[in-house]
């Protein structure tokens, strides 16, 4: 062992040793971030409609004493906690958008050991951890050498296609040492790679001059069913790992009227960009073929597309994160990300995504986070920041 690696090991050892104490301390000051989670979570924040939640995040950045709190031209809120040296920055980010529409009743219930309500796990609690970090670090007596760049990013989910994070990273010209994406769900999550992803929406329309005699008296539902069966015939390779998910189907509104329009939402993920491109081509050709054969109009809209990216499993950032998780009593669950981590890594910054606590009913209106595991989840985040700050993740 070299002297340098011995020093690194000792430094990490000191950080790990403090995790139990930090976990307890984070429990005793939980009101600060739980309040933020509830206040942020009760503001509806659908993708492309995050303004009000972002305004509150900005207020908190301001109240927590960050330098340069601002909302950029894309709608992201950010601020800087200056470090003692400030030569470089550590980026900590959480997406501010939620899968729930503005019409959903955003009321959270706070129990002794849990909080329940739409979007609390994905991602109000993650966002609360980011906006509350300056106060938490202060209360834990943690001072960083690096600047801490905090980001509440918009347009992450669905059609948002990571646009908020991507635009921020393209325009924010700061030396970023590493980044951490914070998600409420689920504790143990360790993502260090972004999975190649294609999200698309296929819309089938029956034209007004449709010849019902030639093509049979079937409406959009029958056509869409046949079309989906044909999509399912496209081979999905096991190696490289590839997956196709049908996530949403919309068609028709009543009992006795054949609908003229229907749509299918799907996602393909693959560890190989070439497979992704090939499957996109096959789906696209199928749309064309089906249109011609049935006299319908079938169109594919690619809503989001990302290429594979990542840092190696052996990267010091990943290795250190695993050590911290183990010490905090968290079992790492390696899972490639389809979220903001892609934007971070594709922008050239090493990064990981971590989850804060255990969750039930994810993305349902009774989404619930458990509070007892949350304190260790936050201690993991603080320790990881300290490790990055000491240069242990390079």
């Amino acid at each position: 062992m070299t002297i340098e690696s011995k020093i690194r090991e000792d430094s990490l050892g000191k950080i790990l040793k403090k995790i139990p104490e930090q976990t307890e301390r984070l429990k005793s000051i939980r009101e600060t971030y739980l309040t933020d989670a509830v206040l942020l979570g009760e503001i509806p924040s659908p993708t492309f409609g995050e303004e009000e939640r972002i305004r509150l995040a900005l207020d908190r950045f301001r109240e927590n004493g960050l330098d340069d709190p601002e909302i950029d031209e894309f709608g992201n809120a950010s601020g800087i906690l200056p470090g003692a040296e400030g030569g470089s920055s550590i980026l900590v980010m959480a997406h501010a958008d939620s899968v729930f529409s503005a019409e959903t009743r955003h009321v959270l219930n706070v129990g002794s050991d849990s909080i329940t309500g739409p979007g609390i796990a994905d991602n109000a609690i993650g966002l609360a951890a980011v906006v509350g970090l300056p106060k938490l670090l202060d209360q834990l007596g943690v001072k960083l050498k690096d600047d801490l760049l905090l980001l509440a990013n918009v347009q992450s989910l669905g059609r948002g296609n990571l646009e908020g994070a991507r635009s921020f990273l393209e325009t924010k010209q700061r030396p970023i040492r590493a980044g951490i994406c914070v998600e409420g769900a689920t504790q143990g999550r360790l993502s260090y790679s972004g999975l190649g992803t294609l999200r698309g929406e296929i819309t089938l329309r029956i034209p007004s001059n449709y010849d019902w005699n030639s093509f049979g008296a079937s409406g959009a539902i029958s056509h869409l069913t046949r079309f989906i069966n044909q999509v399912m015939e496209i081979p999905v390779p096991k190696e490289p790992k590839t997956k196709m998910i049908f996530g949403g189907l919309r068609c028709g509104s009543t009992f006795n009227t054949s609908p003229r329009r229907g749509s299918l939402r799907f996602e393909i993920t693959s560890e190989d960009d070439a497979v992704l491109n090939d499957m996109e081509k096959q789906v696209s050709e199928l749309c064309e073929q089906f249109s011609l054969e049935t006299g319908t109009s079938v169109d594919l809209e690619v809503v989001a597309k990302r290429e594979n990216c990542g840092i190696p499993f052996s990267h010091p950032l990943v290795k250190t994160t695993r050590s911290i998780m183990n010490e905090a009593g968290i079992s790492p669950n390696v899972d490639p990300s389809t979220g903001d981590l892609n934007a971070l890594i594709l922008a050239g910054h090493p990064g990981v995504t971590v989850g804060l606590t255990t969750v039930e009913n994810l993305r349902e209106e009774n989404e619930t986070i458990q509070l007892p595991p949350l304190y260790a989840g936050l201690a993991q985040l603080v320790s990881l920041l300290q490790a990055i700050d000491l240069g242990l993740c390079e």
Partner: protein, 327 residues
Amino acid sequence: MTTKNKEKWLARNTFHHGEFWDIIKLVKEKEKKGMSISLCIPTLNEEKTIGKEVLILRSELMERYPLVDEFAVIDSGSSDKTLEVAKNYGADVYLASDILPEVGDKRGKGENLWKAIHQLKGDVICYVDADISNIHPRFVYGLVAPLIKQEEVQYVKAFYDRPLNYSSGLRSSGGGRVTEILIRPLFSLFYPELTNVIQPLSGEYAARREVLEVIPFPIGYGVETSHLLDLYEKFGLDAFAQTDLDRRVHRNQTTNALGKMSFGILQTFFNRLHAQGKIDQMPDMETFYRRFEVEDGVYSQLIQEVIEEERPPMIEIEGYRKRVLPT
């Protein structure tokens, strides 16, 4: 009070919580005046909402901004986990029956509010109901701010948005069903000045100790009504202020429950009429019905004359008698 004076009172004593967003400034003014503020939540089986209320109000108004000096939950003997949850998030929790045991124990919200005066030490006591789903710090700072800023104000009531008429761009700013059907007509008849109070039954209000300690407290449904009537009798309308706290989300009550509530309120109301000699020497009743509307943030009172004319029994009408009675 003339129409002009009423408008002046409305303009001077009606606020929106947004006017008090700068809580740091409020804290400084409070400290400069040497005031202390106690917050009381009366409870009975409120485990679903109490956790959030204690968490948010304590965290924002005691830890982040020290506006509130004391925070207590006073409970009527809940059988659910209300006390456990409230304690868990740091509230001081009391059983109403343990406070002033020598005066006995009566069960009702008014009892908890009354005993809070003895238990809590603040110069100002702010009462907030426990069933608010969308609790926010404005529910407290919006109410205590007028007391910090204006010495003549003694009692501040909350009112809320109840949007009913979007299409015309106008929204009714009425109260709940009991307010509209019972209280406003009664006030219009007997206490027209008090119709300036937009939501007389709202469960959130803040008051100075010296006025709370000199009025009786009905134990049940009549407590809000009695506060208005008694303080109005003693100090006049200028002692009151009211703050728009925007929307309040809470559970809806059944018509039966509202009937029971109305019955309790009527008892309180007629007791006051009796005590003030308005039953024995019934004054001429007002014929103007008063309600509110708001347009572009400006509240104005709509006054409508409603004269309940009566017809005599038909048998007294000569034409009728001629038709039906044998000649």
